[in-house]
């Protein structure tokens, strides 16, 4: 279980969060919805260590974790809105680069793990192609697989449907629900209320201050 207590964050003079509290239960899907500028993406970015947290406390499974270098913890795997796959690497290399370089996994172990994930996500035959040749939905699944390779505690998605055709929305819904079956804890930032209602255990509306 992830607990955020009294989190505050401001950009310059603009307060984004003031004494904000949130609990994310294990194995559940939490959606953060609300108008743009409300800070829902900022919250996800803070958990990934991409934005600093001014003050507050983060407790994971009962233990307080340091808030100033969250990127060094393996708390949140981040699936970017525009995927940010590495264009010069094949799908397989996108997946195995971090585990082999940052976690000391051998190439064989990493490849086995990557191929399992790709198979599960229906991408097995795309392992050796480069990202530019994939469709938006495929890129997103690769981005998810890449985030999952280093086994983060939680997966966070930033606007997972915004870069996709409307018909792909159902595909993303199924993917996220499938991950829930597998026991993953997930946080989804979206402005698509219908989408949020279809997938979420909890929906939290974040409004601009």
């Amino acid at each position: 279980m992830l607990e955020l207590k009294n989190i505050s964050k401001q950009f310059g003079q603009k307060k984004i969060f003031d004494q904000f509290n949130l609990t994310v239960e294990d194995g559940k899907i939490l959606s953060l919805v609300g108008p743009s500028g409300g800070g829902k993406t900022t919250l996800l970015r803070m958990l990934a260590g991409l934005e600093t947290i001014d003050s507050g406390e983060i407790i994971y499974n009962g233990e307080s974790v340091p808030i100033d270098h969250l990127e060094n913890l393996n708390l949140l795997g981040f699936v970017f809105q525009d995927f940010q796959l590495f264009p010069h690497l094949s799908v397989l290399d996108n997946l195995i680069l971090s585990p082999t370089k940052t976690m000391g996994m051998t190439k064989e172990e990493a490849k086995d793990k990557a191929n399992d994930l790709l198979k599960r996500l229906g991408l097995a035959e795309h392992a050796n192609v480069y990202p530019y040749s994939l469709s938006g939905g495929q890129k997103q699944r690769v981005a998810l697989a890449r985030a999952m390779m280093i086994d983060p505690q939680i997966i966070g998605y930033d606007e997972p449907t915004s870069a996709l055709d409307p018909e792909l929305r159902r595909e993303v819904e199924q993917l996220i629900l499938q991950n829930r079956e597998a026991g993953m804890t997930q946080i989804v930032v979206t402005h698509d209320l219908q989408f949020a209602e279809n997938i979420s255990d909890h929906i939290l509306k974040i409004n601009p201050k």
Binding site: A48, G49, L50, E71, N72, N74, L76, G77, F78, F80, D82, Q84, L85, F86, P87, H88, L97, S98, K101, T102, M103, Y130, P131, Y132, R146, A147, I150
Partner: protein, 213 residues
């Protein structure tokens, strides 16, 4: 024809000096330029001023003058170079400034999201540069880098001011001795061949990097 064969050995000898300058400068100046470009990304004011000054001076003064400075002026403050090292030093520092600007453009063309993706995947800063940024920068800068490399083949003829016997110098000596311009045209042909080779290599390199978009 027999005249060509007669002057060719001395011209080829000169061409070897030209190639020496060319190869050593390429090997030194491209990595130096890349390192300088990454240093430019560090937000440390004194460092940025220093690099701006360096690029300004190197691009803002004639290379000929820089060659003269390294060979003729530095000895007066006790720093003495041989002809060849002086020439290579001047060329390397000059070309590194141009390469630094080219690489800076390439680095700045990489989206911020690539750095963020690297960060959440736990790559260190050096790993991010080595595995994610640099390979992409190479592809972006390739055409401009080869443009500079072609310039260098011809610019290398400036070493004559230091008395290094390069291709152009050899052709001038032969032309003066034999009272004919033929050696200079032969030299021109050799330059064309050298640049033809570089051009073929550049096309191959660009093709090699076209496996992704």
């Amino acid at each position: 024809m027999s005249y060509i064969l007669q002057v060719l050995p001395s011209l080829l000898n000169g061409a070897i000096a030209t190639l020496q300058v060319f190869c050593i400068v390429i090997i030194l100046s491209i990595p130096l330029g890349a390192i300088l470009a990454f240093l430019m990304q560090i937000r440390l004011k004194p460092l940025q001023w220093l690099l701006t000054l360096y690029v300004w001076v190197m691009r803002g003064t004639p290379l000929l003058l820089q060659l003269i400075f390294f060979y003729y002026v530095l000895p007066s403050v006790g720093i003495v170079f041989d002809r060849m090292p002086a020439a290579i030093l001047a060329f390397t520092l000059n070309y590194a400034a141009y390469f630094a600007e080219i690489f800076r453009g390439g680095i700045e063309a990489i989206p911020k999201g690539q750095y963020e993706a690297a960060k959440v995947l736990k790559f260190s800063q050096l790993q991010t540069i080595r595995y994610i940024i640099l390979p992409q920068v190479f592809k972006i800068v390739m055409p401009s880098v080869f443009n500079e490399i072609i310039n260098l083949v011809k610019d290398s003829s400036l070493v004559y001011v230091l008395g290094v016997g390069d291709l152009l110098m050899a052709s001038k000596i032969a032309a003066n001795r034999d009272a004919t311009l033929a050696p200079m045209f032969i030299a021109g042909a050799i330059y064309l061949i050298l640049i033809g080779v570089v051009t073929v290599i550049s096309k191959r390199a660009e093709k090699k990097f076209s496996y992704y978009r």
